[in-house]
């Protein structure tokens, strides 16, 4: 894993981010710095705001307040602020931030290859031949090159999710966001997706991973943050946060999650 150089400015800097849905405040002033090469696992109960936080980073949800710096983008989300993001800025930033979803969201009317080359061609203006070459190399890496002409419906969930990861990688992102990417998978297909994510982490990809896989958080991530009720309440190396949780809330959460895993599958801890 690439060493994290904390003396460099962070790749992603978030300050006092707030987001509400109606009267319900989901994010109550989140601040987080992520350095290049860090793999941050975000854990927390459902409804704690972790997915919303991830979706605010590439502004799939527009925060009501807060600041975001990513590479040369610098946004102030307050209403009326001069540096609120424009549509063009958002597109340019999203092109450099890969996102993978719980429900894969591959485009069913395009083949695997077409799914992977679409954005590089349309957004980055890559010539088709070059986009195909990159896509085939990536598909080869995950062992799905022979599926390049297949439609997503012919693939297993694990294969679809790995293609979705490759689709994001084809844009050569500087940061990858994973939003509970194994939650919709059959248990026996989880491993292949986590293995690909672990391999990316080893290569030094900067990753934010919202996950219920405590094993992944412990073994792969360089840092674990715990979301509770719209706040980050714990933040540190996974072994510390997971072994010696400071708050009772995290203790309870871990007990519940680990119990479910042991009861459900009996393989917790072997992953990835």
């Amino acid at each position: 894993m690439a060493p994290v150089d904390a003396s460099l400015p962070p790749l992603l800097r978030i300050r006092e981010l707030r987001k509400s849905f109606g009267a319900h405040e989901v994010l109550k002033g989140i601040s987080l710095d992520v350095h290049a090469g860090e793999v941050v696992s975000i854990i927390g109960a459902s409804g704690s705001g972790k997915s919303t936080f991830l979706r605010c980073i590439n502004v799939m949800e527009m925060p009501e307040a807060g600041f975001l710096d990513f590479e040369d983008f610098s946004f102030d989300f307050r209403a009326g602020a001069r540096s609120r993001p424009t549509q063009a800025q958002l597109r340019a930033m999203r092109a450099r931030i890969g996102m993978v979803f719980q429900s894969y969201n591959l485009w069913p009317h395009m083949t695997v290859l077409e799914n992977v080359i679409e954005a590089p061609m349309r957004v980055n203006g890559i010539a088709r031949a070059d986009a195909v070459r990159t896509a085939e190399a990536l598909l080869d890496r995950i062992g799905l090159k022979d599926k390049r002409g297949a439609y997503p419906s012919r693939l297993s969930g694990g294969q679809q999710q790995r293609v979705a990861i490759v689709r994001a990688l084809a844009m050569q992102p500087r940061l990858m966001l994973f939003d509970e990417v194994t939650s919709a998978l059959d248990p026996e297909l989880v491993g292949e997706v986590l293995a690909l994510m672990a391999a990316l982490a080893l290569e030094g990809m900067t990753m934010l991973v919202v996950t219920h896989e405590i094993g992944f958080a412990r073994e792969v991530s360089t840092r674990t943050v715990f979301f509770d009720n719209g706040h980050i309440t714990e933040d540190g190396p996974p072994r510390e946060v997971l072994r010696r949780p400071k708050s009772e809330r995290l203790q309870q959460f871990l007990k519940r999650v680990l119990h479910e895993h042991v009861a459900g599958e009996g393989v917790e801890g072997e992953r990835p």
Partner: protein, 220 residues
Amino acid sequence: MTFSEWLDFFMPYVPGFLHAAWLVFIITLLVIVVSWICGLLVALGKTSSFAVIRQAAAFYIWFVRGTPALIQIFIVYFGLPQLGLGLSPFVAGVLALGVNGGAYVAEIIRSGLSAIPKGQVESSLALGMSRHETLRRIVLPQVVRIILPAITNEAISTLKNTSLLSTITVVELTLYAQTIIATTFRPFEFYAATAVIYLVMTTMLSQVAAMLERHNARYV
């Protein structure tokens, strides 16, 4: 009447029937074009951020779907001249049926759009694609597949509805049959022949649609 006598009797009317059938085909095509223009505008209007436009679109759909097509044709052909807008039977007919079909097309488009999961759009936007690219490359191709069966049904109704234009003196298939029957007094044969011609045309339409559907089903 022997078969050959019957054939001799019938043959002189064949060119006329074919010509009337051709006219039905042309009217159907034009009506489909008009109804798609109306339907797209109304479907967009229903999602407009202006309340007035949304209400106008809702009123259009409510009025058209709640009144008989025949009355709508009469309003356009007999009613509009009173307001100073006299139209030929052909133009009035195409316009009335097109406006009528537009309400149904609008609903079909709306249901197709709402059938596309939000994640399809999100994954495209998250890759940096623009809203326009997302609509054109990701959403619309899937909408077309979803609405194809409904659109086929709508085209078939349109084709059959052209017979209503016989009431405003458009000499399409139905009125042509009526004029022959008025002189030959043979309603059974000629209405049966008319029905067969309609049947051939609607069957061809569903065959084309079935072909397109098979082509689109390759990724399901």
